[in-house]
Amino acid sequence: MTSLRPFHATDVFKFNPTNLDPLTETYDLNFYLSYLARWPHLFTIALSPSSPSNPSGQISAYIMGKLESSPSYYITSPHYLPFHAHITALTVSPSARRLGLARTLSSSLEQAGDEYDAWFVDLFVRKSNLIAQSLYKGMGYSVFRVVKGYYSDDPSDPEAEGEDAWDMRKRLKRDADGRHVRGDGERFEVMPEDVW
């Protein structure tokens, strides 16, 4: 079954089913709490069935998001980001994959983005993470730009110095004309310092 609810601060004690997976980073407490302090409505978890030993159900996936724009002093920059929603983390536990939870959770963030009148939702994904890219493309995201050497490591190649990120976007209701998305974003390369 699928049930969503807002992430509670005490869920950090229970998120091992997702966070023990090597592709999910476990940050310090400050990271999770700062999202809860600023965007509690954009931090959502999906739960699996409850049982007498675990009446609240097990965490099977979660999404961390935020709503923001670049600082005002950046407004003249070509890389200025207008008010938008951002997917900071989206993770599904190995035992709950292929159930559509990633799609369900990102839809919830898109909906919140619309509710708060954001222009688009964006996210970063590793260039090598083809599975995630195809998932996002299937959900209507497209590449807006390529951030060269955004990641300091490359899990598929320990020798490599870093890996590019794809900055992918999906426009929301406010961007009726598609001003903030591109069909050929793979051609636009920027450096990590250009990304706010």
Binding site: S3, V12, P22, N30, L33, A37, L99
Partner: protein
């Protein structure tokens, strides 16, 4: 130089930085003589706080107290900051004193300068950081009054009042006052929102955000009228559909919950029906914008309300809604469709009638099944290739009648009727049957289907009957297995063996796929067949639990054979699924059982725990590490992180607790700033859980024990470290520790009514508050009697604390002593040691308390405590002497040996400690201590002898062969694995792997035994 206010102060701060405090004081006095200011006064106090003399520190504190009572308030924030720094130097972490001095100074400052917003905010934040809720409340109130146009400050004031009212800091008599005020004020704001005509321009004093609505609910729950919460949530302007709510799902969750609690079944039914309909209806842009209304909690509430309304028409409506969701034309996401499918299963169980004739008509065989079984099978057909199918169905299979379960088992066994309906099925068709005997396991979907089938078989064949048998154990010690019809105990050997064999055979087929799946796996992937291996290991572990006989050799019993087989399988699965943390969790437990410390640590390191995971999962390795493997682990086969010593690892965990306070404080403030009021209360919960964590106590205790074991003493900071990480109120009977440990991440395919597999597979009692409290007591005693001179200064405080808490705990002890304290949470050795430590505590506190000496029964009481201590030490020695199967030393042996050594050594120091007290100890104690000393020395002697037996045994050759013989016994014996099972297990690892692995196991035993060399008779004082 952060505190620099004037260029003329530079020389003062230079002197401070150079630690030339005498010079700094001279300079500040000179400046004060010319121009006395609050700031310079504060600088002087700060410099004095840096001086090492206790008299200076005490003078600083007295000065701070005087400042609070001065007529004119301080208004220089820089001066207050300096006083706060001085306070930290004098009384670090003393919250109560901080509140009375610095907190009060800050509040006085705000009162003096109420319009200085920046100063007020800084003071508010400082009070929040120190959990000084009363002053924070007063400052928030001042902010609201002085900045009436600020919407935020209204809510800060309400939140602060409610925080204070809900905290232990608030006197009982004031709780209702502040709680009532917060409730009254937010109620008025709610009324303003309700009455507003223009929702786009709400007045300042109104509720305007979802977080404010959640705060309203939270306060109303505690201090409002019982029906008021639901009333607010039903309101058009305050409920989840209001503009203010901005679609926040948390409000819907609350509303549905409260409607259930209020038994508003008809309303709830109608609401759920509406929500589910809206979920599948597209909006003007042809989008399913409200699809999340198909959440499982809505379906559950829908079904619950229908069951309460007791009419079939309601079930019919649900059935129609399910069909509408499952209609191929409905484009709702598959996660939501799955909810509808599961709702149909639940509906069938609730109504106990066939759900849909049409559905079963598509599948002739299923149509012949009883409705409830049919529902389970249909779900399995549809979602059997999803990992979660087993978890989804578990509770429904448990609810089936035994004859239905028997039918399901036949289908599971024959693997018929479980595929998607379009595939040809039918048990009566010989062709189909032969196909089912060799299941195809070449794709992830096929493997997942097989796994779900095996898990369900395990549930029906093993877990449910085991639970049922356990329930009637007293009445009937021997059972006839309902599945195989053979005689059995709680666990049925025949069924478990059959399942283990089938499951491991399937695993073998799945992984030997000519690389079809295996070669395409990334290093971060796991093999889809892993659960087959885990399930086999579970069966083997249960089979091991059947053998409770005590034998003279560890490697020659069936328990060891089964457990070694489980270990081999999991270890051989790991290289192709390195990211599978469930394999690692099980391996940590198994290696720990075998006493293979270095291998357990290797498996533990594979989890790569960090940050908060150090609180929730450290117990898997570090709980009892001091009585398992207290010496440094030399194995470094898994990379550089392995070289970190045990103490470093425990200290890393302790850093987490220290850092987390800072993180929580920082975000508390951020939450206020961003109006995330609900988060503030959640953060408090996290603080409470971390500050009272089982694992924090464990880390302190184990750290000290390891230190003491390896270096014969503890660091000078041991006592302050204890005060820093162990909650100050720990000895209060009202205080409970928080069990934040994660037991749920362990694999668990057991019946939901039975204990989890994590519990079942505990070979030694798990974490428990009783044990941690007893450990804290033993630690205090060990520190008091420690001969190290570095600790002498703080020992008196510990002695006082022993005495203070004695009375509050006497009663509970008396009761627990009779019932055998901690018999469920401790090993036998730990229980005996526990009694010994308690006796030591009583002797220390009573024999030195001259006020008690005159009491009539004192002498006999003291004699009683001494006899108790002596007898427990003797019992422990006896326990060790009786232990036969000690080579190689498994966990139970190691635990007994190390526990006995520790208590024996403490008892020796205890006697020396009392002897050193001279005439301040009751006169008969000297003689009694002598006898105790003798018993303690004898105990240590027995420990040393036992260790010598283990070491000698391991030094003999042939252990690798013995391990291999134990894993794969050559002949079949009763109670041991059948030849078929042995053969099935043998197929998984190759010979090279087996030899290497057996070598590692033997090396690990030898490495564990290296710790014995640390155990020696304490040198004569």
């Amino acid at each position: 130089m952060d505190n620099l206010q004037d260029r003329q102060d530079v020389p003062i701060w230079n002197a401070v930085e150079a630690k030339n405090y005498k010079q700094a004081l001279k300079l500040v006095d000179k400046r004060l003589a010319k121009k006395p200011t609050d700031y310079l006064e504060a600088v002087k106090t700060y410099i004095r706080s840096l001086l090492p003399q206790a008299s200076e520190k005490s003078a600083v504190f007295i000065h701070l107290e005087e400042l609070v009572n001065r007529k004119s308030s301080l208004s220089d924030l820089a001066a207050i900051d300096l006083y706060e720094d001085a306070f930290e130097e004098v009384l670090p972490g003393a919250r109560e004193s901080w509140i009375k001095t610095i907190g009060e100074l800050r509040w006085q400052c705000v009162k003096t300068l109420p319009k200085q917003e920046d100063i007020c905010l800084k003071c508010f934040r400082a009070c929040l950081d120190r959990d000084d809720l009363d002053h924070a409340r007063q400052i928030a109130n001042s902010l609201e009054k002085n900045f009436p146009k600020s919407h935020s400050y209204i809510f800060w004031n309400i939140t602060s009042m409610f925080l204070f009212a809900s905290s232990p800091q608030c006197p009982e008599s004031q709780k209702r006052i502040w709680g009532g005020l917060s409730s009254g004020q937010i109620g008025k704001l709610a009324a303003a929102t309700r009455e507003a005509t223009d929702l786009k321009q709400l007045p300042v004093r109104s509720i305007q955000t979802p977080q404010e609505l959640l705060l309203l609910d939270r306060i109303t729950e505690t201090f409002g009228q019982p029906d008021q919460r639901l009333e607010y949530l039903q309101d058009l302007h305050l409920g989840p559909e209001s503009a203010v709510a901005k679609g926040d799902w948390a409000l819907w969750i609350l509303k549905l919950k409260l409607m259930r609690e209020a038994n508003r079944w008809q309303e709830l039914f109608d609401l759920c029906g509406t929500l589910l309909k809206r979920a599948r209806e597209a909006n003007d842009s042809n989008q399913l914008a409200e699809a999340s209304f198909s959440d499982w909690i809505v379906w559950e509430a829908y079904l619950k309300s229908a069951s309460k309304l007791e009419s079939h028409k309601y079930y019919d409506q649900i059935r129609a809604e399910v069909e509408a969701h499952l209609d191929p034309a409905c484009k709702i996401d598959k996660a939501w469709k799955r909810n509808a499918s599961l709702a149909s299963v639940k509906l069938t169980f609730a109504s106990s009638t066939a759900f849909s004739q049409n559905h079963s008509a598509a599948n002739g065989e299923v149509a012949e099944l009883p409705p409830r079984l049919s529902a389970v099978v249909q779900y399995l057909q549809k979602y059997g290739d999803a990992n979660t199918a087993y978890d989804d169905l578990r509770q429904y299979v448990e609810a089936l009648e035994s004859n239905e379960r028997a039918r399901l088992l036949i289908m599971l066994d024959a693997n018929t009727g479980l595929e998607r309906p379009q595939q040809p099925i039918g048990p009566s068709e010989p062709e189909a049957k032969s196909k089912s005997e060799v299941p195809k396991l070449s794709t992830a979907d096929q493997i997942t289907r097989a796994i779900n089938r095996f898990k369900l078989k395990y549930l029906v064949m093993c877990s449910i009957p085991e639970h049922e048998r356990k329930q009637s154990l007293e009445a009937k010690p021997d059972f006839k297995c309902i599945t195989c019809k053979g005689s059995c105990g709680i666990f049925c050997q025949a069924c478990l063996e059959k399942l283990a064999e089938e499951s491991i055979n399937s695993y073998q087929i799945a992984v030997n796929d000519d690389g079809q799946i295996t070669k395409s796996l990334l290093t971060t992937d796991r093999h889809p067949a892993d659960d087959l291996c885990v399930l086999t290991a579970m069966c083997l572990i249960k089979l091991a639990l059947i053998d409770t006989s005590s034998v003279s050799e560890n490697l020659s019993n069936s328990r060891t054979t089964y457990l070694l087989q489980a270990t081999v399988l999991l270890e051989s699965a790991w290289p192709r699924s390195k990211s599978n943390f469930q394999l690692s969790l099980m391996l940590v437990r198994l290696y720990s059982y075998f006493g293979c410390g270095s291998l357990a640590m290797r498996a533990f390191q594979r989890l790569f725990l960090k940050q908060i995971q150090l609180d929730t999962l450290s117990y898997t390795m570090f709980d009892r590490i001091s009585s398992f493997h207290p010496h440094p682990i030399s194995d470094s086969s898994d990379g550089p992180s392995q070289t970190r010593t045990l103490i470093e690892q425990l200290q890393k965990q302790q850093q987490l607790y220290k850092k987390s306070r800072e993180h929580i404080n920082k975000n508390n403030w951020l939450a206020f700033k961003h109006g995330s009021y609900n988060a503030i209360f959640e953060f408090r919960e996290v603080t409470q859980k971390l500050s009272h964590s089982f694992s924090a106590v464990m880390s302190v205790i184990e750290n000290n024990k390891i230190h003491r074991f390896t270096t014969n003493t503890v660091p000078a900071s041991a006592i302050s470290q204890m005060h820093d990480l162990i909650p100050a109120d720990i000895d209060s009977p009202e205080t409970t520790l928080s069990d934040n440990n994660d037991y749920e991440t362990f694999p668990n395919y057991e019946s939901s009514l039975a204990p989890t597999f994590e519990e079942l597979s505990r070979f030694i009692p798990g974490p428990a508050e009783t044990r941690y409290r007893l450990n804290l007591l033993s630690e205090k005693i060990s520190l008091i009697v420690d001969p190290s001179p570095e600790l002498s200064g703080e020992k008196t405080i510990l002695e006082q604390s022993l005495k203070q808490t004695l009375d509050s705990q006497k009663q509970s002890w008396a009761a627990s002593s009779k019932s055998g304290v901690g018999s469920k949470s401790m090993t036998r050795a730990e229980q005996l040691a526990g009694h010994a430590y308690r006796a030591m505590r009583l002797i220390i506190t009573e024999s030195c308390d001259q006020a008690l000496w005159a009491k009539g029964d004192f002498k006999s009481r003291l004699e009683g405590h001494n006899s108790e201590l002596r007898e427990r030490l003797e019992e422990l020695a006896g326990l060790l002497e009786e232990m036969e199967a000690v080579v190689p030393a498994f966990q139970d042996t190691l635990n007994a040996v190390y526990t006995a050594y520790e208590v024996g050594r403490t008892a020796v120091y205890f006697c020396r400690f009392l002897n050193g007290k001279g005439k301040t100890v009751y006169e008969t104690q000297t003689e009694a201590s002598k006898k105790i000393g003798e018993a303690a020395e004898r105990l240590i002697q027995v420990v040393v002898e036992k260790c010598a037996v283990v070491k000698k045994g391991l030094d003999e050759g042939g252990w690798i062969d013995k391990v291999l013989e134990s894993v794969f016994p050559e002949s079949e014996q009763p109670g041991f694995p059948s030849a078929l099972l042995v053969e099935a297990v043998r197929q998984v690892p190759d010979e090279v792997f087996m030899e290497e692995w057996a070598g590692e196991v033997v090396e690990s035993w030898k490495e564990s035994a290296a710790g014995f060399s640390y155990m020696k008779m304490p040198s004569k004082a």
